[in-house]
């Protein structure tokens, strides 16, 4: 209990449970087949739930999984069964929103695969070896985005495009409500 909050894995699966991008930080699933069967179990058990407006939560074996779906993408964050559920959900929200910003509101599988480099960098900026690096989606997205801009690109332009993305994101959300 006196240990640092830790994340066991972050999964981004499609609507059939196939991997878009996954990242494991713990040794609980040593082989690829162990990982795949975990993903399958999590996917089937959460498939029917409605995790589109608010993040949902479930327990699997000795882990807690928080998850959120949008379009044909399923986001999962897994932690140990003693972990503070709200920390896990903060990480999930950070990941979810950062992806939303990076994909400029068009969050679906096709867009995610076409920008897989951004998704992978995003995962890299959220958690390092199980330890939470950053949870603020704007910070995460700006760290990722600053890389994808060519070195020569003027700074002002970058911030404007980012601001636009955020604005679009907010607009999209308010429309959804």
């Amino acid at each position: 209990m006196e240990s640092c909050p830790s994340i066991k894995n972050i999964l981004l699966l499609d609507s059939e449970g196939k991997r878009v991008a996954v990242k494991y930080y713990s040794e609980d699933w040593p082989t690829n087949s162990a990982k795949e069967s975990f993903e399958k179990a999590v996917f089937t058990k959460t498939q029917k739930t409605n995790a589109r407006t608010e993040a949902e939560i479930a327990m699997f074996e000795n882990t807690i999984v928080v998850y959120k779906f949008v379009q044909d993408l399923h986001f999962f964050v897994t932690g140990g069964d003693n972990e503070n559920e709200l920390i896990l959900s903060t990480v999930l929200q950070g990941f979810f929103d950062a992806v939303g910003i990076l994909l400029r509101g068009n969050v679906d599988k096709k867009e995610a695969l076409e920008n897989l480099d951004l998704i992978l960098l995003c995962l890299d900026e959220i958690v390092d070896g199980g330890i939470v690096l950053e949870t603020d989606s704007n910070v995460i997205a700006s760290k990722v985005a600053s890389h994808s801009i060519d070195a020569g690109a003027p700074l002002s332009e970058q911030t404007i495009s980012q601001a636009l993305a955020t604005a679009r994101e907010h607009l999209a959300r308010s429309l959804l409500k």
């Binding site: 209990m1 006196e2 739930t49 409605n50 480099d117 890389h147």
Partner: protein
């Protein structure tokens, strides 16, 4: 495959479209050659790296050669000044996890990036380098890392701190040198830097309680900005509270105010962490709990499922220890039964079942019935278990609960779920006499249509034991005999056994049972036929209705009094011959620690003629050893061997321990001796015993040890006679006598002449517990009831002031030398009373059962009620005498 990223297939479904469609490892590895181009196309290179990462992410593996090849070409990309490409290079290096000799290639590039002006380069280069580096390289970059920890850019500082946390596992001595810098970073204004620094600082100091305590004291007064850091601090605070619990007397708990203050924090994460910490405090009081319960109650009606789940899960745990504290939340909890999230609903139900009172049971059951149909089996099991304990708590409500169980038993469900229900019904039947008849009928109906062989046989067995004792046993016969017609061989066989049990116990049913059993003689399965024949013969099925004699009853109903493991070993060792297998030859002692393990614990071997690798239990080994000595061969069967008792201090010249072997009218002491002096050889080793304080014992035989060379254990034996069957006790003083000869350590040769010498050993006692074998019973209640109150002896004892109840319980258990049953030797940490169940076999093969009830008052005075049941009055008295004189 040249440009798959722009390949937009129009002839495929939109859904099927993926930029990685048809991707193939071989082709991508070919593409990776672009990394070697003199004119780098950074965009193209990024795409190829993405493809490589995609493959790895999908679970594809690279061979060693492939990985090395990719790694080397990737290192070329450090020439490019494109930031995006560099980021991808960092990622792929981490994924490839290069070997030590490969790391050297990128070290200089990464070190250059670590000192770059671009913050992003610095932060990422640190993370990559720390991930792939080994200890030797670390000393080279240590200086930069220390600087990075206090870097003004939070991203750089966090990267260095997080890397420090990882490196602490492998190179603690280096990371520990950074504590000054880490300490400075704890004061950082950047939220996450503070969080990472706090985590690292605590890990550096985790073995130093005082330092952790100081850290907590200073930070709880100061300002911790990030919610994550606040959560960490709460965890560390509870750790400090837990560790200081020993010396804090009643009154205000240190740091409780801090935890309570965190309940008003603005971040939900922190509020929850603090609430949870309070509920988990050791020996938490109701007053301390209340504010935490209040915030958790607010969470219960949150719109966020995660918050509701977290709160209900915590309250569920609290309900196990402090059900009253949670009752305030019952109304909110009840509305959660219909929660969309079934995990939340199940937790709410089980919490309610724990906190509910007798009057709310019926209403609750109604709600649960609606709920059961739409949850998964694993949740149903949790509910069934909660209902079982509720029923045991309110036995008067058994009717409603039993009905509920039988209803869900009829519905669809998997094996585990059905098993949980059947187990619950069985437990209720056992513990609530009124529920017996209705429960048995529910089970009968269930086996009419049960697809699980295991459950059918279990229920049939149970019916055989309980059914004949009911008011109208005949009504069960039909259910049982139906099994013989309709089931597979396993179930048929067990139905035959059950029928026989009815026949044996209910004389009026005997003729009818015989008719049914005779029909089974024509069964297609030989096990069924065999059983039918066996029972017809034992019950005297030749038509005459006779009183079933007690041997037959014993055979049918007696529990197997030998541990199954031992029976299995004995059967495996039994070689088919004229001599029939004798069940009495199976050792009854539970296998104690194998010798090999004991040897591993103490460096000095205890010395038995057994090789440590042989998986022989100590009992078997002793029996073999003793029967090989002709002097002891007429002593009969070994009753018990004690654990070795040390007769010398550790690290002395000669190490001696003794094992007490108890026979019917003899006691054999086996002295295991070890000579720890390389310059000596001992000959004619014997232990001289003064038995003046053990009047009932007389020495009858001894077996000296001819020679005891250095570090080779040997044994010498002494045998005493004592009155048969009497548990005589006494004290023996021991002296080791021997002839010592000097040994030349270089040649190993001993001198011709020796000197007589002796060595004082500690006293040895034979105590009452030596006459008692630890034999567990698996259902204490049943054993207790079937033993009957004929030779019951009950008395009360005051045990005086004791350190704790646990200590008192353990003292009595050790004094009696009986086997604690059903885990009753374990006490809840702060319980004020406890009941402990013990069982064993007294010398003369008399079964003994003991029920101990303890109570402790505020001045730590312990009182004990001792109830003994045994097959012999004298033995019951003897047990009381042990306690009386102990």
């Amino acid at each position: 495959m040249a440009q798959p990223l722009v390949k937009k297939d129009d002839d495929r479904d939109d859904e099927e479209y993926s930029p990685f469609l048809g991707i193939e490892k071989g082709a991508v590895l070919q593409e990776a050659r672009v990394f070697n181009d003199p004119q780098l196309d950074s965009r193209r290179c990024s795409q190829v790296i993405t493809k490589l990462l995609y493959l790895l992410n999908q679970g594809e593996t690279f061979t060693k050669v492939e990985a090395t090849e990719v790694f080397f070409s990737v290192t070329k990309l450090f020439q490019s000044r494109d930031i995006g490409l560099r980021r991808m290079v960092y990622l792929i290096i981490k994924e490839l996890s290069p070997s030590a000799d490969e790391v050297i290639i990128v070290t200089s590039s990464l070190m250059k990036d670590m000192n770059s002006k671009t913050d992003m380069y610095r932060a990422n280069a640190i993370r990559v380098l720390c991930r792939i580096t080994d200890g030797t390289l670390l000393t080279q970059i240590e200086r930069y890392l220390k600087q990075a920890i206090v870097d003004k850019n939070p991203v750089v500082a966090s990267a260095a701190l997080v890397s420090g946390i990882h490196l602490l596992q492998t190179n603690p001595e280096i990371v520990k040198r950074w504590s000054n810098e880490v300490q400075e970073a704890v004061q950082s204004r950047a939220a996450l830097v503070q969080f990472h620094a706090l985590a690292l600082l605590h890990q550096i100091r985790q073995n130093d309680r005082l330092a952790v305590s100081k850290l907590v004291t200073s930070l709880t007064r100061g300002t911790v900005r990030s919610p994550l850091a606040q959560c960490l601090l709460i965890r560390y605070t509870s750790q400090v509270i837990r560790e200081s619990a020993g010396n804090a007397q009643m009154g205000d708990r240190p740091f409780y105010d801090y935890l309570e203050g965190c309940l008003r924090h603005k971040a939900e994460m922190v509020i929850f962490e603090a609430a949870r910490a309070i509920t988990e405090l050791h020996g938490v009081t109701t007053r301390e709990l209340t504010p935490a319960i209040t915030v958790l109650q607010l969470f219960l009606s949150s719109s966020k499922p995660v918050l509701r789940f977290a709160a209900v899960r915590t309250l569920n745990k609290v309900a196990m220890t402090h059900p009253m504290a949670v009752t305030n939340c019952n109304i909110d909890m009840e509305s959660l039964i219909s929660d969309q999230n079934r995990s939340i609903a199940t937790l709410a139900i089980t919490t309610l079942l724990k906190t509910g009172n007798e009057s709310s049971v019926d209403r609750l059951m109604k709600q649960i019935t609606n709920f059961m149909s739409d949850i998964a089996d694993e949740f149903k099991i949790v509910v069934v278990e909660a209902i079982r304990s509720l029923c045991l708590k309110f036995p008067l409500k058994y009717r409603a609960l039993m009905n509920f169980l039988s209803n869900i038993l009829r519905e669809e469900g998997g094996f585990e779920y059905k098993k949980a229900i059947v187990d619950s019904i069985v437990i209720l039947i056992r513990d609530i006499p009124d529920a017996k008849e209705s429960g048995l009928l529910h089970l009968c109906e269930f086996i009419e249509d049960c697809e699980f062989t295991y459950l059918s046989t279990q229920i049939l067995h149970f019916l055989g034991i309980e059914g004949p004792k009911t008011s109208d046993p005949s009504k069960y016969i039909r259910y049982i005999y139906n099994r013989v017609h309709l089931e597979n061989a396993t179930v048929r066989a067990s139905a035959v056994s059950t029928l026989a049990k009815f026949g044996a116990l209910v004389d009026s049913l005997k003729p009818r049972v015989f008719i049914l059993l005779r029909r089974c003689l024509f069964d297609s399965d030989d096990e069924v036929r065999d059983r039918a024949t066996l029972y017809l013969n034992t019950l005297g099925g030749d038509g005459s209705v006779v009183e079933t004699d007690s041997d037959v009853k014993d055979f049918l109903f007696g529990s197997l009094d030998v541990p199954l493991v031992n029976l299995e070993t004995s059967l495996k060792n039994y070689e088919a011959s004229e001599e029939p297998f004798d069940i009495n030859s199976v050792p009854k002692e539970i296998k104690s620690q194998p010798l090999a393990e004991k040897k591993a614990q103490s460096k000095k071997p205890t010395g038995l003629g057994v090789t440590p690798s042989a998986p022989v239990s100590t009992v078997d080994a002793y029996e073999k050893l003793l029967s090989s000595i002709p002097e002891f061969s007429n002593f009969g069967k070994l009753f018990k061997s004690s654990a070795p008792v040390e007769l010398t201090e550790p690290e002395t010249e000669y190490a001696v321990n003794v094992v007490k072997h108890i026979f019917d009218s003899h006691v054999v002491f086996q002295y295991n001796c070890t000579n720890t002096i390389p310059e000596q050889l001992l000959e004619n080793v014997i232990v001289a015993v003064d038995a003046s304080e053990a009047e009932e014992f007389s020495e009858v035989a001894s077996k000296p040890l001819a020679s005891l060379p250095y570090d080779t254990p040997g044994q010498t034996f002494l045998a005493f006679e004592r009155p048969e069957g009497v548990p005589a006790v006494g004290k023996f003083s021991n002296t080791l006598r021997f002839i010592v000869k000097e040994v030349d350590p270089t040649t190993g040769e001993a001198e011709e002449d020796g000197v007589e010498d002796e060595y004082q050993l500690e006293d040895l006692e034979v105590v009452p517990a030596d006459y008692i074998l630890k034999v567990p019973v698996f259902n204490f209640r049943n054993a207790w009831e079937s033993m009957g109150p004929d030779f019951e002896r009950i008395d009360e004892y005051g045990l005086g002031q004791r350190e704790s109840l646990t200590e008192a319980v353990n003292t009595v258990i050790n004094l009696l030398g009986l086997q604690p049953c059903e885990g009753t030797e374990v006490l809840a940490s702060n319980s004020r009373s406890h009941t402990c169940l013990l069982s064993g076999v007294y010398i003369g093969n008399v079964k003994v059962l003991v029920r101990l009830s303890f109570g402790i008052d505020s001045s730590r005075e312990v009182a004990m009620k001792l109830a003994v049941r045994s097959e012999d009055e004298a033995v019951s008295d003897a047990i009381h005498e042990i306690v009386g004189s102990g």
